[in-house]
């Protein structure tokens, strides 16, 4: 029963990736290509400036002599910063994907084919949501991992040229499997954090007669604007609770992408001798802490309500 459910869910999620290969396969690959190109250019430029490679190799030897904790910190920071570009573009891709997810097949009438399959509307909506919440983070993580590996391999060659052990000086402080695990966990928690926004997009997609993405933006914008003017007119002040601000806070506040334990950093930042620790960068605690906030679960509840609405409209949707 459960195995059957997973089999069906898996093929439905694969369908989504088949339908949008540009969003989920080519976009992360293209970001990887872009970063690889930048790295290549930087290396060529470096080789031009530093003809004999003496500065470069000296620099690498100096790197080998720095404090191991410092090495870890810098490596970890570098590894995470590579993820930023991927994750921000992924967020945009997912927004557009979800806005079209329950709309495109109504427009091109293929909904009549999909509804001729013995798949419930709940399962259909769930498969599209899970594509955004799980499949997209996994595929973009693959792009990040590819970039990481490329950089670490290049760095290893430079280390060898400088007579330094690449394993202890490059791979060990970078610790890619740990970084990937933290990134994945962070992405999943972030997906849950953004559930109300994802669900809102799907909700709009499920009934919009056209341009679901525009409707999804305009409705909260108008509500926010109205709130703004209303409180200005009635109490001559700015609103205490503004929908648009709430949404932006939601987007800005999550755990991604570097999952820095800000609380810890802030606390220690007051002392004069403070230096950040790598552990604060790969902090599982800061990720999991989000899970026990009321804000998180209020958002999830709103998301579930909107999803129920999306299923309701999906059940009634046909080709016109």
């Amino acid at each position: 029963m459960i195995a059957d459910f997973f089999k069906r869910m898996l093929i439905l999620v694969r369908r989504e990736v088949w339908e949008s290969p540009f969003a989920f396969k080519w976009t992360p690959l293209m970001i990887f290509g872009f970063l690889a190109l930048m790295i290549g250019l930087a290396l060529i430029l470096g080789a031009r400036v530093d003809n004999q490679m003496s500065f470069t190799l000296d620099g690498i030897r100096m790197w080998a002599e720095t404090d191991p904790e410092q090495k870890r910190l810098m490596m970890t920071g570098g590894m995470f910063s590579i993820g930023i570009l991927f994750h921000q573009i992924m967020f945009l891709v997912v927004i557009f994907y979800l806005a079209g997810s329950l709309y495109d097949d109504r427009k091109d009438r293929s909904i009549l084919f999909w509804k001729s399959l013995p798949v419930s509307d709940q399962l259909t909506v769930a498969s599209k949501l899970l594509t955004a919440m799980i499949a997209a983070p996994l595929l973009f993580l693959a792009g990040i991992a590819l970039t990481h590996l490329l950089i670490l391999v290049v760095a290893s060659f430079y280390a060898l040229a400088a007579g330094i052990n690449p394993f202890t000086e490059v791979w060990l402080p970078a610790n890619p499997p740990l970084i990937w695990f933290v990134m994945l966990l962070g992405s999943l928690v972030q997906s849950l954090w953004l559930l109300p926004i994802y669900a809102w997009l799907m909700f709009c997609s499920s009934w919009a007669p056209r341009l679901p993405i525009l409707i999804a933006f305009i409705v909260p914008a108008l509500v926010g604007l109205f709130q703004h003017f209303w409180s200005l007119l009635t109490s001559m002040s700015l609103p205490g609770m503004n929908l648009f601000v709430i949404i932006f806070e939601r987007i800005g506040k999550g755990v991604m992408p570097s999952s820095i334990d800000w609380q810890e950093v802030m606390k220690q930042g007051n002392t004069v001798t403070y230096s950040p620790m790598a552990d604060q960068l790969v902090s599982l605690k800061s990720i999991l802490q989000v899970l026990i906030t009321a804000e998180m679960w209020i958002g999830v509840a709103i998301g579930l309500l909107l999803l129920a609405g999306a299923v309701w409209f999906r059940r009634r949707a046909t080709d016109n």
Partner: protein, 291 residues
């Protein structure tokens, strides 16, 4: 054996427009039913109600299930081809086969590939690159590979050339249909289906104008070709329709004594198209639909 489709007082309104007006329907197993009517008569609405694609009032049971509540369960035993354009255009042929296999418990990949092998469709082709005829061939191959109890076809051959249309109905009849299965067809191309139908339903303005088996239709309606000298005599027997063809008059009678009709001239079984024109009022519009 309970009915495949059972409807009582089936009604569907869009605002003030009544698309289906208290329709009663009973389709037993092993029939091929033609649902014929002009555009906007309610054909597609009736099919959509049976497929759980629209809400309705009244009672409707398909294979004992309420389609609007149990669509996903119902679709295990019901197949459906809307008109030609509904296979997802972005998908490749093998992807749709893979999807159907994983999602449909009664689908046989082997059978599907067997039917596909007769066509020029490549598994790696995208649906958008296939011609209209090939898309229908592909959809038919998918559907014939599903062991379903009810097959619903809504204008399945719209816009196809005559070779594809012939082939479509030939495969359907010879390789798919048997006593366990029921097929429900709507189409404007009535001449092509009239020889395969076992039952005929005419629908107009959301109501059934005719609902009977083809045998009953042939028993009840008679077409007589009358020479100019007997026209007045034929008219006195109150025909339901009259048309002129090459100087001869063709009368359509509902009931009537076969012996007396035979005296008037040559007797035929009426074609569905002619019957349609006779029963559906406004001749011009109806002829256009039936053509």
């Amino acid at each position: 054996m309970s009915a495949i489709v059972h409807a009582r007082g089936l009604t569907r309104k869009y605002g003030s427009t009544v698309a289906l007006d208290r329709v009663d329907l009973e389709i037993p197993a092993g029939r091929i039913v033609g649902l014929i009517g002009p555009n906007g008569a309610g054909k597609t609405t009736a099919l959509k109600a049976m497929l759980g694609l629209t809400s309705f009032q009244g009672t409707l049971e398909v294979l004992g299930l309420n389609p609007s509540k149990n669509r996903d369960q119902l679709m295990q035993d019901v197949c459906f081809i809307a008109d030609v354009a509904v296979l997802p255009r972005w998908a490749r042929v093998w992807q749709i086969i893979e999807l159907t296999e994983k999602l449909h418990p009664r689908f046989s990949r082997e059978t599907c590939l067997h039917y596909l092998a007769r066509t020029k469709i490549h598994q790696n082709a995208k649906v958008r690159t296939l011609s209209k005829g090939m898309v229908v061939q592909f959809h038919l191959a998918l559907v014939m590979a599903i062991d379903a109890k009810l097959l619903v076809l809504d204008e399945p051959t719209l816009g196809l050339d005559i070779l594809f249309r012939k082939q479509f109905y030939t495969s359907l009849l010879n390789e798919y249909f048997d006593e366990q299965r029921t097929i429900l067809i709507t189409t404007h191309q009535v001449e092509e289906v009239e020889h395969i139908l076992t039952d005929l339903i005419f629908i107009q303005d959301g109501r059934f104008v005719l609902d009977s088996s083809m045998d009953e239709v042939h028993e009840r309606y008679t077409e007589v070709m009358v020479g100019p000298d007997r026209v007045e005599q034929a008219r006195s027997l109150s025909p339901i329709h009259e048309r002129a063809l090459f100087g001869r008059h063709i009368f359509l009678f509902d009931g009537g004594d076969p012996a007396r009709l035979a005296e008037l001239g040559e007797i035929h079984k009426p074609g569905i198209a002619d019957l349609f024109v006779a029963l559906m009022g406004e001749p011009e519009q109806a002829r256009e639909q039936a053509a």
